[in-house]
């Protein structure tokens, strides 16, 4: 059965039926959050509005538990640290000016939970998502990296998860034509049942081509382009259909949908080339990627960042499934889609470029006067909201923080009591055991599955302390990136441990001959509702920010992933830190490793 017109929950209907019970809890909203939505709207939300608010106010999209802490990055960033920064926290990705007229943008993102549910597709779409973030800035994506964490190497679930994740990272990245220039593979028992898949992408553009997405200019068109919209990743929202229309079979049937998205790297590759041509031809005002919260996110963020309102005709969205409701269309997480704002005079040219690349493109709405985001469905209004309340003014929590009572015992448990090798034989055995251990052995099994050569600009990749790519073929200017984190150090002392992660990434970049310029992060932690985890988190953020200030380089962006736990056991706190450095001539890089030339002298620096 399909959603017929009279079944659609319109704004009018919502105003007339204030007491209708809504499944907001099933959608993850708390009582007071739901109350606030009613206050904002002056009525109950429609199904479609409820779907939008619930996904945009989720931890993942709203940063409601982390916001108060992350603001410390801003407070500790001095004007001097910002000297190379063209865009920072709050944009899709941070951007730095690296010289010779080049701007480089980089960011990391997590795709942990989806990769546990379906390792291949979860990891693949993780790469796809971060690449679209970089693309949305107007940059050509140039390389990827993948910090990974798994349970013990011999645990049965690791055998299920690891090969799939590695194949997914490779399958997607290789097919996109992005060299993989580094990453991490770390095993620890706390990641069993909760692997971490963090993906980093770096891209470059000419400084003057930086595009920040916003919907401005009344009458400008909103174009949706890329893949069709299907029922991907809609798990939660399906309760709307079933609960409010209990007779609707398709509704209850869909409740069981797995929230798994399947990636199509070919479509994304074509989308990249299409977007870059659109930027080059100057026919877009701005582009926004469709990430976790799909159209809900793209429309509200575009409208919220612009100076007008927006009207979207939802029935124009090209669909892959039949009978999708407005709420489902708004919440769909179908991959490989982008939204653009285009001046009316450029729409024809826009469609022409999309046709050249065989990319489906549809005008779905326009920028309007006023300040409302209005979404209609076959002429009926299903959403009428102030976009900022969806995208930027979500709830903010000051979660309780408590240093765990177990912390002192953890710190007191020093390694002094562990047996030590007493003889040369034992020392030899220990060394062999060490270098054969999963956390230290060769990563070749992983890295061999990744193309590190494509595009012909990879100067350093595995095995190397940091990856390095050439940005400018004329001048040889390039960038180096390293990601690091030792979760065991962070667990012992989150403040210092995070600084150690920063210091390691910083050293790795410096050791190649590049000058560190900027920092990104991917903060993977347990549940924010656990005061001990929140303590780890706040300490880690403080440590990173203070460390950055001391080193004089800014945090330009990042990502927070909470609720990484199996049962009540949280993962090791894992604030992965990425440092980007600039080198004016990549031919002068220092490769990793000894023995490239005879007679090298080995020096130890520091204490």
């Amino acid at each position: 059965m399909t959603t017929t017109e009279q079944q659609v929950d319109t704004v009018e209907h919502a105003a007339a039926t204030p007491d209708l019970a809504q499944p907001y809890r099933e959608l993850g909203l708390k009582d007071d959050e739901y109350t606030r939505i009613r206050e904002i709207l002056g009525r109950r939300p429609t199904d479609a509005e409820l779907a939008m608010y619930s996904v945009m106010w989720s931890e993942h999209c709203s940063y409601k538990s982390s916001k108060v802490h992350l603001s410390y990055f801003g407070k500790t960033t001095t004007p001097e640290m910002k000297q190379h920064m063209l865009a920072g926290i709050g944009e899709n990705a941070g951007v730095v000016d690296i010289g010779d007229g080049w701007a480089v943008t980089f960011k990391a993102e997590s795709h942990n939970h989806p990769s546990y549910v379906e390792p291949y597709q979860g990891a693949a779409t993780g790469v796809g998502g971060i690449v679209r973030d970089i693309l949305a800035m107007g940059a050509r994506p140039l390389a990827v990296m993948d910090p990974l964490r798994f349970g013990p190497a011999d645990a049965p679930d690791t055998r299920r998860v690891l090969p799939g994740i590695v194949a997914g990272v490779g399958g997607y990245g290789n097919c996109l034509g992005l060299p993989n220039i580094g990453g991490e593979v770390v095993f620890d028992k706390t990641y069993a049942g909760n692997p971490l898949v963090n993906a980093l992408c770096v891209g470059a553009m000419r400084v003057e081509d930086l595009h920040l997405a916003h919907a401005s200019g009344t009458g400008n068109k909103i174009m949706l382009f890329g893949a069709r919209t299907g029922l991907d990743g809609i798990g939660g929202v399906s309760v709307l259909a079933s609960d409010s229309f209990s007779g609707d079979e398709s509704g209850s049937g869909r409740k069981k949908l797995p929230s798994v998205q399947v990636g199509d790297p070919f479509t994304e590759k074509v989308l990249i080339e299409c977007c870059l041509e659109l930027f080059r031809e100057g026919i877009v005002v701005g582009i926004q990627d469709l990430g976790g919260a799909g159209l809900s996110c793209a429309t509200s963020e575009l409208a919220s960042a612009g100076d007008g309102g927006m009207h979207v005709n939802l029935e124009t969205v090209p669909l892959r499934a039949t009978g999708m409701s407005p709420a489902e269309i708004l919440s769909s997480e179908s991959q490989e889609r982008m939204c653009a704002v285009v001046e009316p005079k450029d729409v024809e040219a826009f469609l022409r470029v999309c046709r050249k690349w065989d990319v489906i493109a549809t005008e779905i709405g326009e920028v309007t006067e006023g300040d409302r985001l209005v979404i209609t469905w076959n002429g009926q209004t299903v959403v009428d909201v102030p976009p900022r309340t969806v995208a930027h003014e979500g709830p903010v929590y000051q979660r309780p923080i408590q240093r765990p009572a177990t912390q002192d015992a953890l710190i007191a448990d020093v390694p002094d009591s562990l047996p030590r090798p007493g003889s040369a034989e034992e020392l030899r055995a220990t060394l062999l055991k060490l270098i054969a251990s999963p956390n230290l052995c060769s990563r070749k099994w992983v890295t061999e599955q990744y193309d590190r050569y494509v595009r012909g600009n990879t100067v350093l990749a595995q095995p190397a302390d940091s990856g390095m790519i050439r940005i400018d073929e004329e001048t040889g200017r390039g960038v180096a990136i390293s990601t690091d984190c030792n979760g065991r150090y962070v667990q012992l002392d989150p403040y210092t441990g995070t600084q150690l992660a920063l210091a390691e990434a910083y050293r790795n970049v410096a050791a190649t001959g590049a000058t560190p310029y900027a920092v990104t992060n991917c903060l993977n932690f347990g549940s924010p509702e656990d005061p001990g985890v929140m303590w780890q988190f706040s300490e880690a953020v403080r440590g990173l920010a203070d460390g950055c200030k001391q080193l004089g380089i800014p945090v330009t962006g990042g990502n927070v992933s909470f609720y990484n736990q199996t049962g009540s056991v949280a993962i090791l706190p894992t604030p992965v830190v990425g440092v980007l450095g600039v080198i004016d001539d990549v031919s002068r890089r220092t490769p990793t490793g000894l023995g490239a030339e005879d007679g090298e002298t080995l020096l130890l620096l520091g204490e």
Binding site: A167, G170, G171, N174, C175, L176, G177, D264, P265, F266, T267, K269, V270, W357, D358, T447, E448, Q449, Y450, D451, R452, Y453, V454, R455, G456, N457, T458, V459, R470, E473, V586, S587
Partner: protein, 225 residues
């Protein structure tokens, strides 16, 4: 005027930028060709580069071989136009029937990216004259469907006529029959290989500059013609 070498871009082609660069490093004029145009723009030779044309979804190269530009390549190749297929390009040439056999999933079932030693088994083709017969070169290999297969009579014919151009040495990375990494057409003008010479044109970004020889060789053959 320097010779003009075309490089085809299909949707999903990835190594076109590298092939164009390799052509420039060899000091020829690099000419981008577009899959949808039935037009070779008067080039003197064509490179079909690597990547995942059309996502390689059905079979590697299966969809690309029907592109309008490929019709032109087939016609021109019949008249002796030098054609080089690298990786996905090799797969496309096989699917198009310009080279015999097929490339299938690696025996190890994984994508493999590594620096691979190759032996030059035939230095009389349009693309290998700069190499010494039997020379060993180190170039990147990166493919998931790189295992060369053909029926026995085809392989016998290739071996008998010296049409195996490159052979893997130091280990067969994908289970290819007879360690075959690259082959040529009967007239030696068309060459296809799985490894990537265009990624080995300078020591800075590749393991060696051993791959440049293919691009220099074809220039010799064009000047000689």
């Amino acid at each position: 005027m320097s010779p003009r070498i075309g490089v085809i871009t299909f949707p999903g082609t990835l190594d076109d930028v590298d092939a164009l660069r390799a052509v420039r490093y060899a000091e020829a004029e690099a000419v981008p060709l577009w899959h949808a145009d039935a037009d070779l723009r008067g080039v003197d030779a064509v490179v079909v580069p690597g990547g995942f044309s059309y996502g390689d979804y059905l079979r590697a190269g299966a969809i690309a071989r029907f592109a309008p530009v490929m019709g032109e390549v087939v016609t021109a190749a019949a008249k002796g136009l030098p054609v080089l297929g690298i990786c996905n390009g090799f797969q496309i040439l096989c699917e198009a029937g310009l080279l015999p056999g097929a490339l299938v999933r690696n025996a190890g079932l994984h994508f493999v990216c590594r620096d691979q030693w190759l032996r030059v088994e035939n230095n009389t083709t349009a693309w290998t004259s700069r190499y010494e017969q039997g020379a060993e070169i180190l170039v990147p290999l990166k493919s998931g469907e790189g295992r060369y297969v053909a029926d026995k009579s085809t392989v016998d014919e290739l071996e008998g006529e010296g049409r195996v151009v490159f052979r893997y040495v130091g280990g067969n990375p994908n289970g290819a029959l007879d360690d075959i990494a690259g082959i040529t057409s009967a007239n030696g003008r068309i060459v296809g290989l799985m490894p990537h010479p265009e990624h080995a044109i300078e020591a800075l970004t590749g393991p060696t500059d051993d791959g440049l020889g293919l691009f220099l060789s074809v220039l010799d053959s064009l000047v000689a013609a």
